[in-house]
Amino acid sequence: MGMKSTTTDTQQPAKAAWEREVLEPALAKSPERLVSFTTISGRPIERLYTAEDVTDIKYDEDLGDPGVYPYTRGIHPTGYRGKLWTMRQFAGFGTPEETNGRYKQLLAAGGTGLSVAFDLPTLMGRDPDHPLSLGEVGKCGVNVTTLADMERLFDGISLADITTSMTINSPAPMIFAMYLVVAEQQGADWKKLSGTIQNDILKEFIAQKEYIFPPRPSMRLITDVFAFCAKEVPRWNTISVSGYHIREAGSTALQELAFTLRDGIEYVQWGIDAGLEIDDFVPRLSFFFNAHSDFFEEIAKYRAARKIWARVMRERFGAKHERSWKLRFHTQTAGVSLTAQQPYNNVVRTALQALSAVLGGTNSLHTNSLDEALSLPTAEAATLALRTQQVIAHESGITNMVDPLGGSYFVERLTLDMEEGAYRYFDTIDKMGGMVAAIEQGYPQREIAESSYLFQKAVEKKEKLIVGVNAHVEEGESPIPILYIDDRAADAQMARLLEVRSRRDAAKVAATLDALKETARGTGNTMVALLDCVRAYATVGEMCDALRDVWGEYEEVPSI
């Protein structure tokens, strides 16, 4: 790594000499706490890393200066000295009015971007009056059924002046179309709008399971969004290729890295196959990773991700523009690491996870609230989570320099090992015929289920300790205040749906839905047809049903 190895100064490796002369006598006196030390992902970690562990790493090829290919040290030459990461807190619950109030509060508290959490009926393309929506309306996020809801969600918030991230996948084109129409009503220029839709269906099949249509027509919807935005909304991030949910479902750090980037490769390939020019759409792809509890493994993961993406875009796909090589990513701290027991400990967990994301060079960040193993966060808990980021940004000093851990023997070794591991997964998936084929064969799903079970067993055996859960347990804890979401939102949304249905032009709705089906059967761009449906106040359920009629629904074969 351009660091002079001490091996040249002596005849024998310095580490071996140290082990014999210093370590062994020490171990003879007092043994180590554990027989083997591993990361939270089960990766073995050595006692000490020295220059001898990084002799195969070349600075220019493997690291590169900040802002220089392959961007291991970051995509910006100035790191956070120029601009801090975007502090983007994911929020949504109940009715659009309630969530609108929370957004105004987050913006007033210094949040710099919005991030919309939708409820399960919206995510699954069901209206509030569908039987499967029973008890779910407004519970996990905000309910948005028609354009009327989107108008209220952003009431008094100028879409030209903020960036918005929307966590929506199967119905992403429908919800995005609503956002675009609200922007149009506000007089905002689509060409200047900025934000992100998650729009990542592959990780739904792999991990979170919020799919509607089968994989192949789902991919068509996504490439239609790529094509539409390249022309009409050029600053919009058309997808957020997500490892977050893969990790939450129980994958290891390496599996999160490998499956997410392989998903990214799959989208690029499908975009090219749909006739798009690589440098026209790849710069608008963004990524979304988890920040889990194993500090250095996470940092290595982010650094490896940037490097792999740069290399794959340039070498595998021949992308010409630097913007196509640069991986930009959002991070969220690990929801799954939060405990219901001793919930205040979650503030500490989240702070450490957030620190790893910042040291890994994240471009935006969500920090979880301390009460999220119990419910959606209270306003106070959400504010504390945002303050955690602000303390890191302004008080810790780690934003003063770029990639402070670059050159660490351990971090560089781990970064390269993660990269090599990811390439091995790519080979396996390529041999299966790509990620869609691998998903159809259940491969990533099985890998994740296996990892999550192994981790749970390690917790049961106390090989992995979780404070408050299997170590330092307290009896008789006093409860903390939580946000309780009742059924008023469901009743309000039901009433609003009836009201919208009664005042809209039913013939126009039917005509636009028919046109959508025609487009889906043919090869036109579904986004264009969806915008017409939205302007006619068609519901999310109606638009998804129209496509269900054409494409059918996906059903997973249950397996354990």
């Binding site: 799919y211 799954v336 193993a373 299997n470 354990i560």
Partner: protein, 135 residues
């Protein structure tokens, strides 16, 4: 003696199945016979599965907040089918204030995030009397 027979079900629209799958494997490794229904099961489908499979236990995994709608409906259907002996346990995100209400409607166990698998295994073993194999 026949093995304890457990149905693990994911009701509602939520697809987060990590907990359901981990507990299904843990119960199977503990010697129980486990049937996993898969995602998005209605209370009607779950009750029918309990009847058809002659289940001793139904385990529900609910994280979305819909438990106060799903549980009463399932308990009503189990009663209609004469399945009052079936132990129903719920795992997931359940606010404290709802726990007594769920217990009152006949849910026998509630397990929050972080519950050790062994506690759930022990709970089921204590509650279910092994039955003779049906002839």
């Amino acid at each position: 003696m026949r093995r304890i027979r457990v149905i693990i079900a994911k009701p509602g629209l939520d697809g987060h199945d990590r907990g359901a799958k981990v507990i299904a494997r843990a119960l199977r490794d503990a010697g129980m016979e486990v049937i996993y229904t898969g995602l998005r099961q209605t209370p009607e489908q779950i009750a029918s599965a309990a009847l058809q499979e002659d289940a001793d236990v139904v385990g529900l995994s609910i994280l979305s907040g819909a438990h106060m709608h799903i549980c009463p409906r399932l308990m009503e259907l189990l009663k209609e089918k004469g399945l009052e002996h079936v132990q129903v346990v719920v795992g997931g995100i359940i606010p404290d204030v709802d726990a007594p209400k769920l217990k009152a409607m006949g849910i026998s166990g509630i397990f929050l995030p972080g519950s050790p698998m062994q506690n759930i295994i022990d709970f089921i073993n204590q509650r279910v009397q092994p039955r003779a194999e049906a002839v």
